[in-house]
């Protein structure tokens, strides 16, 4: 379970979330509808431990994110960037494989097989040997997602995955994502924008006045 307690996220004088407390159930899917500059990405990054809240705490299964060591954070939490998220000097394949080799998560053979399988399902198998600058936005997000699904964390945070996708692609990608979610039972928190699909979610929220408000 991911728990946010009295969270304030602030950038200089701009407070995006204040006194936010929320629990995300284990193995649930939550969609958070975001607008422009309302802090959706910052909220996900805070949950991932990438940025620290100005006040409050984030805990995963009772352990504060700040006290979890790097190896456990890598195994348990993964964040998929809305843009970028890949290191430009490595190929797509190496971007996906590097963290796994670094943390010794799988053997090289296992890594190769897992990347190949998931990349094929997400439709980017042909793009594994290209460099990030050769990808468009959608493919960059799919590369991020491939890395996350290969790692198979307990908590997966996905930032605006669906933007720019055709309806067919969106359906196919979400099917893969929800299939993996059911199989691996990870907690999925995804930000969405207007026009994105969210019917597959167990919980739906929107950001309103520095808080999360439930929607239908």
């Amino acid at each position: 379970m991911l728990e946010l307690k009295d969270i304030r996220i602030q950038f200089e004088n701009n407070i995006v979330f204040d006194d936010l407390s929320h629990c995300f159930d284990t193995s649930s899917i939550t969609c958070i509808k975001t607008g422009v500059l309302d802090g959706g990405t910052s909220l996900l990054k805070c949950c991932a431990g990438i940025i620290k809240p100005a006040l409050g705490s984030v805990s995963l299964d009772g352990r504060s994110i700040e006290n979890i060591n790097d190896q456990d954070i890598f195994n348990d939490i993964n964040f998929c960037y809305e843009s970028g998220g890949l290191v430009s000097i490595f190929t797509v394949y190496n971007n996906i494989a590097l963290p796994m080799v670094y943390h010794g998560k799988y053997t090289e053979k296992e890594i190769r097989q897992r990347i190949k399988d998931i990349a094929k399902k997400l439709g980017i198998a042909d793009l594994l040997q290209v460099e990030p600058h050769q990808l468009n936005d959608v493919h960059t997000r799919l590369a991020n997602l491939t890395r996350a699904l290969v790692i198979s964390p307990k908590l997966l945070l996905v930032d605006e995955l669906q933007a720019g996708m055709s309806p067919e692609m969106r359906e196919a990608v979400l099917e893969v994502l929800t299939d993996y979610q059911k199989r691996d039972e990870f907690t999925l928190i995804m930000t969405t924008t207007a026009g994105d699909e969210n019917s597959f979610a167990d919980y739906r929220y929107k950001i309103f006045e520095q808080h999360l408000v439930e929607t239908t």
């Binding site: 290191v87 430009s88 080799v101 670094y102 010794g104």
Partner: protein
């Protein structure tokens, strides 16, 4: 009063700079512990070999060209005063092996490789790609700093040796063509090599190790100081090159004065 504040600010800035470099050096030593991990060592070796190739092997052509012409010029000048090629060896060791070889090799490393590293690191910083590594809990210092720190001194040492070798060949060629044609390449090289003492080898190695390591640390320092503006990258390259040239000249001249 304004002058005192300005001087104080200048001193403060430079002290902070040296402390930052020291911090980066300590970080490098700390990150070296990752090399005891088999899978991380594999990553390091790929990046280390790539860096050695880019820094050392790819510089062979420019190294060769400059060494070739330098050998010719030194031989041409010396020939005027020392017509006998066999007496050339002492001058060659003092001028080329001790001073010009290390200096020019260092300049090639700085202008080719250090500037490229500063630009690369600056680019990664500008586009928040270190954050990406941080989000995967991968140490950016291990991926970028360590390979450069260990490959630069090794590349520099091999560049010294190669530079001296090519200069020797081109000097012999010039001397035997326009001067004393009786001396063979083997005896010419033997005359020079017999003048190279343990002291020369030690000081040259020190110049490579200290100079190479510092070049690696400083170019990465300036690359990582890039902020949010694209123009910060060119500024970083300019500052980095200035610092590196100054540092390398000071180390070379300082070690030479101390030793010789």
């Amino acid at each position: 009063m304004k002058m005192i504040i300005a001087i104080g600010g200048w001193i403060n800035g430079h002290v902070a700079y040296f402390l930052d470099l020291l911090g980066l050096f300590i970080l490098t030593l700390r990150e070296t512990r990752h090399l005891f991990n088999r899978s991380r060592r594999r990553i390091f070796m790929v990046l280390f070999k790539r860096q050695l190739y880019n820094t050392g092997i790819k510089a062979i052509y420019i190294n060769s060209l400059i060494a070739f012409f330098l050998g010719m010029i030194v031989a041409a000048r010396v020939l005027v005063y020392i017509p006998q090629a066999a007496n050339y060896a002492n001058i060659y060791v003092i001028v080329v092996v001790r001073e010009l070889g290390p200096l020019i090799s260092g300049l090639i490393l700085i202008s080719r490789s250090a500037t490229a590293i500063t630009a690369e690191i600056g680019h990664l910083k500008l586009y928040d790609q270190f954050d990406v590594l941080h989000s995967q809990r991968v140490s950016a210092a291990f991926i970028f700093l360590l390979p450069v720190f260990y490959s630069f001194p090794i590349s520099l040492l091999f560049m010294f040796i190669y530079f001296n070798f090519v200069t020797m060949i081109s000097s012999w060629f010039f001397l035997s063509t326009f001067g004393d044609s009786s001396i063979s390449m083997a005896s010419f090289m033997e005359a020079i090599l017999s003048q190279i003492t343990m002291l020369e080898i030690m000081i040259t190695s020190l110049k490579a190790i200290i100079g190479g390591s510092l070049i690696g640390i400083i170019c990465i320092y300036f690359g990582s100081s890039v902020g949010e503006r694209f123009t910060d990258i060119s500024r970083a390259i300019s500052k980095s090159t200035t610092s590196l040239l100054l540092m390398f000249f000071v180390i070379n001249i300082g070690l030479s004065i101390l030793a010789y």
